[in-house]
Amino acid sequence: MRAAMQRFARNRMAVLGALVIGGVVVLTVTAPLLYPAGAFTLAGPPLQPPGARFLLGTDALGRDVAAGVVQGARTSLLIGLSAALSAVLFGSLIGALAGYYRGAVDIVLMRLTEFFQTIPAFLLAMLLVVIMSPSVLSVIIAISAVSWPGIARLVRGEFVALGGREFVLASIGLGASGPRIIFRHLLPNCVSSIIAIGSLLVASAILLESGLAFLGLGDPNVMSWGLLISAGRVTLRSAWWVCTFPGIAILLTVLSINLIGDGLNEALNPRLRER
């Protein structure tokens, strides 16, 4: 683990990404202190350019864009992390069952996975949100529902590869139960791959959430970057700042998470570098 940390620290881009995300997390935590009134408050005159009073300007209703960006960070991280986490848990479970038991279980679960993989992810997410009516929970469910198949396939592949190894055969020979082999012996061996892919999933979940909010399918009671951009789009040519700053926030966050993901991948699977 220590060696992995050192390998990660040697990857300058990954460290940079981690610093940016660290900054975002700090902003998220301090948001209630920085902007106690919240992001929807009509703070001043509409469409003020960035300046001393409003660091990033105000939008068409006179809401502080900076407050929106900070509050939006919270929404994006919350939804990104929860959606990625639930997708990882569900995907791993499906993949593990299919990869360990093979046979009919494998066929059924993998056909199910492929079924989800063949439907365009964004359209399915949109449909699910519309059916469940937009709220934070429904957005998380929709994003997890379109994100788990990748994890499931990955975990199944790892399980199939590990299935014939001596330590697994030994465990079977010693009479270990299926769940014990899956959770004690197989899963820990592919956790590094899951972490690497899972971290990238956070980035794609944030992008999906912004896309949904942009199309008006986010929770209307919660500020989010996508919502800010969609509200600022109509004034793009007269007030560039309204959608530029949330756009930069999305770009930086998603890029940083991707860099971290790459760094983790290299750090946890050092043999990849030699290929």
């Binding site: 009509l42 008006g216 209307p220 789009r233």
Partner: protein
């Protein structure tokens, strides 16, 4: 190779010369109508059908009123003027209307226009399938046709609003021989209209455009001037703006352009703008309160919500200045007709928040520890982003009086079902057009007989006021304009006092046009009237 520079030079010289002429051209010459040319107008969004005789969506008539004509049109004072009816006469008791029809009118399929077409259009089509038919034509019992050029309307009771509802947009005259024996919506001409108008339908390329060609045998001599009209459908607002700015499109009505862009476009020297041509829309944004809910059943609560809203803020920041604060259920466009009154309870007083908070206290809803009295849901209008912005503002505004508003935005079908079928809403934020007469688009939101579960955009508030019912019912039949005005004044006063809803803003639509296009807005119907006199400078 040496030949190339010469034509390039001459072309540039030519361009320069033409630009110079355009600048130097005397105004008088620019005002002489020239026939020919193709006008491109933007219609947004693309209509689902062109069956304007059966569907009342607002994006259909800009196309269909070029093709179909009505019996009448209206002048700037909203006085009826002849169109397919050459003249008309209302009997003293208001129960008989005699129309003398234009002679020598032919449909685009070559059939001659007669009184039989009028009778069929009203009795078989409008009365049966037009969504406004049950209201506008409620009193119409029969259309008699003593000869080919006379149509006599027999009414059960006087219907003064009927004469305000006979435009090409309201009741299009269709060709009887085309429709006879078919189901109107399944008729082959539902999407390939055949009318008597100045332009005949040529093609509909789905997702792209509708093409309308000049009708050579149009009954008004020398008209239309344009050879062709292309109605283009551009889903993206920024692209619509760009199409006008580059001169690719000549005309965009009904605020097809983002309000935020209008100010910038008005500064563009090749573009002009007008707010004329919306005289019969009277578009108002409103809130509907579900009076079945315990909080909203109390008049004090409803009034407090009305006091909490800064209407000028909505006009300035959500409509970008294109509108004005609404004062009651009737739009101020009814000032000229005398029906509108300003003599109602005013919510835009300086100490409005104080009053609102006191009303809430009096209603028995004190603020809790966190400053909140109670929570309500607002159903966000699904017809565009502007409504989400308004909802976000309302959440802030109601927060000031301790009402915690939760926004719910759903797709159109779910939203409509929730508000008009299931009645599972607290506050709804729809948007209405009143039409040329209150009977057409106002009554159905407030009279108790219009509480019709499952019908959209009627009285879903459970508002039952015997006083208002009686006043509106009398106004429907009253022929004397002064007495009718008095009835409406009393009704407005009562409704604002009861506040079954909140009236937010009267929306001012803007038409953006290329200055090369002339004579496009010739009356109060604006884009709901044929461009028969429009012409292009070239």
């Amino acid at each position: 190779m040496s030949g190339i520079p010469t034509p390039r030079l001459s072309r540039r010289a030519l361009l320069l010369a033409s630009a110079a002429t355009a600048i130097a051209a005397p105004a008088a010459e620019a005002q002489t109508p020239r026939p020919g040319g193709t006008m491109v107008m933007i219609v947004n969004p693309e209509p689902a059908t062109l069956a304007s005789y059966a569907v009342s969506a607002g994006n259909i008539p800009p196309i269909t009123t070029q093709v179909y004509e009505g019996l009448l049109t209206y002048d700037w004072d909203l006085k009826p003027q002849p169109l397919l009816a050459k003249s008309f006469e209302v009997s003293a008791d208001g129960k008989t209307i005699t129309f003398k029809l234009q002679e020598g009118v032919t449909f685009h399929n070559g059939a001659a226009f007669t009184s039989a077409d009028v009778a069929y259009s009203f009795m078989e089509i409008a009365k049966k399938v037009n969504p406004n038919g049950p209201v506008i034509l409620r009193e119409l019992e029969a259309v008699e046709t003593p000869d080919a050029m006379t149509a006599i309307f027999k009414l059960a009771n006087p219907a003064p609003y009927l004469m305000m509802s006979l435009s090409s947009n309201n009741i299009p005259i269709i060709c009887k021989s085309v429709f006879e024996g078919t189901a109107p919506m399944q008729n082959p001409t539902a999407n390939r209209p055949i009318g008597t108008g100045p332009f005949k339908f040529a093609a509909w390329e789905r997702g792209q455009f509708v093409r309308l060609d000049k009708w050579e045998k149009y009954w008004k001599p020398g008209l239309p001037l344009l050879n062709r009209i292309i109605a283009r459908f551009i889903p993206d607002a920024a692209t619509r703006t760009a199409a006008l700015e580059t001169g690719e499109a000549h005309y965009a009505g009904y605020s097809a352009v983002n309000a935020a862009d209008i100010k910038r476009m008005q500064a563009n020297p090749i573009l002009g703008s007008t707010t004329l041509g919306y005289g019969t829309t009277a578009a108002t944004s409103v809130l509907e309160f579900n009076m079945r809910r315990p909080h909203l059943a109390k008049k004090e609560v409803r009034q407090a919500i009305c006091y909490a809203i800064d209407r000028q803020f909505i006009v300035d920041n959500i409509l970008y200045g294109f509108g004005k604060p609404a004062v009651g259920p009737l739009s101020s466009v009814f000032t000229t007709s005398g029906w509108f009154t300003d003599d109602v309870r005013h919510f835009d007083v300086p100490n409005r928040l104080e009053i609102a908070n006191k009303l809430m206290d009096d209603a028995g809803y004190p603020r809790g520890a966190n400053g909140v009295r109670f929570g309500l849901h607002l159903e966000v209008n699904s017809f565009g982003e502007q409504w989400l912005r308004q909802a976000e503002y309302l959440k802030q505004a109601l927060g000031q009086i301790g009402v915690e508003l939760t926004l719910r935005s759903e797709d159109t079908a779910t939203w409509l079902r929730r508000c008009y079928t299931d009645y599972d809403f607290d506050i709804n934020e729809p948007f209405y057009s009143a039409g040329a007469d209150p009977v057409i688009g106002v009554h159905r939101h407030y009279v108790s007989s219009a509480i019709r579960q499952g019908t959209t955009f009627v009285n879903n508030k459970d508002y039952r006021s015997p006083v208002v019912d009686k006043l509106m019912d009398d106004a429907t039949r009253e022929l004397d304009p002064t007495k009718r005005a008095d009835l409406y004044h009393a009704a407005q006063k009562q409704m604002v006092e009861d506040s079954p809803g909140a009236w937010l803003a009267e929306v001012q639509y803007v038409t953006i046009f290329n200055k090369k296009l002339h004579d496009h807005t010739m009356g109060p119907l604006g884009t709901y009237e044929a461009f028969s006199r429009a012409w292009l400078e070239r």
